[in-house]
Amino acid sequence: MGDDPLTRTYDAIVVGSGATGGWAAKRLSEAGLNVAVLEAGRDVSPKEFTEHKPAFQLKYRDLPGAGAWRKTRPVQTQCYACTEYNYDWFVDDRENPYSTPADKPFSWLRLRIVGGRTLCWGRQSYRLSDLDFKAASHDGYGQDWPISYQELAPFYDIVEEYVGISGAAEGNPALPDGHFLPPMKMTCGEVHFRESMAKNFGRTVTIGRSAIITQVHNGRAACHYCGTCERGCVSYSYFSSPFTTVKDALDTGKCTLLSNAIVASVDMDPKTNRASGVTFIDAASRQTKSIRGKSVILCAQALESTRILLNSSTGRHTEGLGNSSGLLGRGLMDHSTGAGASGELPQFQDAPEPYSGPHRANGIYVVRYRNTSASTRQPNFIRGYGFQGSAGAVFNEGAEGFGAAYKKAVKQGIYRISIGAFGESLARDDNFVAIDPKLKDAWGIPALHISMTHGENEKALQEDAAETAAEMLEAAGARNIDIRSSVGTPGMAIHELGTARMGDNPSTSVTDAYCQLHDVENVFAMDGACFVSSGCQNPTLTMMAITVRACDRLIDRFRKHEI
């Protein structure tokens, strides 16, 4: 394997090394296929992890507005996880521009580095159900997925068993149970909230199902509860692809990882109408290079994968590759956020955990309860929402007054509860990405124009979420309840989905049920791009299950010499 990696022809070229790219690399190389993984960013080292670094060791202690680096990342700093500790994992916005209509802001928050967003993702991991896969059949809006829960369930099993998801089974059909490691513990306030919600409303509150392991699992150590996962983890206790799937792939000896390889387009062989590889820019030398493969698997992140396809017009594929339906780029979704409520639970008097005490980087989850059956059908919106939140004692820097009494009040803390909604984002064809005819990135690759708004359904859904959030907190005995009811900027949920949706009918979808472009038999979009609808659950677990299912199908086709 000492030869130039660009002189070989690979069985599969995987674009991206994050949650889905890592799985594609692992699954295909472990099946014996020769795989090349192209990652646009640099390599990552555990030496960069800063989860145990106290704030005062940073020059500006991550205070908003301070630090020249912020001028390089005016969009990325909108992300809670982009900090003075780890900003270099996030893209430099000046090198990676995109445009939006003036009245339709979109926050595109992303990383370019081996592992992608798995380095600092939120780790919440939920299965979709047939309420989601067959949502159109329930309410008539949009399209059903071409797959059912039963078809995807075995692949959820595979992913969960490898990744390690801590959580609790609840038997609620809106949120199917999985294979869980022992759940993290709830605080007293959360146990009380759970009991109160079951009793007063029949609603399910469960501990967050998280890709943080609570016992030794696949050679990784259990969580040590330092609480700041987004800065890395010395014990690899949360799932991050460079130290799990990508590592497994490289260990097979069948996988080559090329970092700093920014893919611009898919190369097509016009004689066969098949892809022959991809063209990429070597970020280090700025040279344009090609790599050859028998199949091309896009796992670059929904919008980035679609951008590559849109930038791959050639021959009969005049409006991008795989766009005979005209739907490539359309149906962009991102969960609506913004509604919620917070307050105090004065009936609990616990003091906050000391700074060096255990901190749980996880919370509680309120399972969807709207439009789940005939009896919960809503008159003014379709689909539903779930809440993430937490309750517990926190230091009370907002205490009134000054002097010794203030210092004491800060330490004494305040017992707070807060929940925030994630609502379904409807797939609409007028929410789309296209190539901006004028704008290019720092490597000369045409950039995206992103046009998305949350519509009336998302607004109605968030309004309802705000009302029911307040109602639930009140029922739990909360005081000083603060209700939030605005709808956040699209992109801020960091759950971009759609733009190359799957389906059985080539005129109404871009890929088939196995993520293969209807128009090109050896090109695949195996990330969030293929989503038909968004559900309201955090989508990464589902993306990974879809990738494994699609890879297994591809392996089968290789075995049958169909590719």
């Binding site: 989860e51 202690r61 507005g65 001028k71 969009v75 007293c188 040590h224 330092c226 609990f348």
Partner: protein, 199 residues
Amino acid sequence: MNRRELLRNSLLAFGAAASVSIPAEALVFASGDDASRELARPDWKPLFLTAQQNATLLSLSETIIPATDTPGAKDALVNRFLDLVLSVLAPETQHEFLDSLTWFETGAMARYKASFVNLSDGEKHDFLNLVAWPQTHDRWEEVDAGPEGHEHFERMKRWIATAYYSSPVGLKELGWDGWPARGIFKGCEHQPDEHADAK
């Protein structure tokens, strides 16, 4: 939402609004670096504040977060950290900060005919008591403060608390012991139904 998040949200716009040249910064951190050591240098000089402003801030911060059985704002070098941060913040934020700081200097002169730093401890407490509580500002007439005095107090307190509770001294106050490993999160250990009276 904690104070840091509040601050972060309220000030986000400044990061986004600023444009300009590319900074030549190291891209990968040396994880052993400890920037707080710079603040403790014996030859420290303010980058942004005048000597008088620095003295007022020092005095105000120690009144808001005094040394008790644990060290206060002065020992935490709150003034030095805020001076460093202010030196790189957007002009609007700098002006806001100085407005509020100056309000205390002017107010002290009007009420006590003395600069803030020269007030006795009792006078400083008396002065802050007039603006520290949301319900007292309508009785604050002598400097014609109105609710404005309370807003200046709250703003200065936010900055001072943020600097204090992120300093080595402040983190120790909150139970930082220097060890990275935290133990197991135990959560609620009550028996079922023990929360039944919690409503």
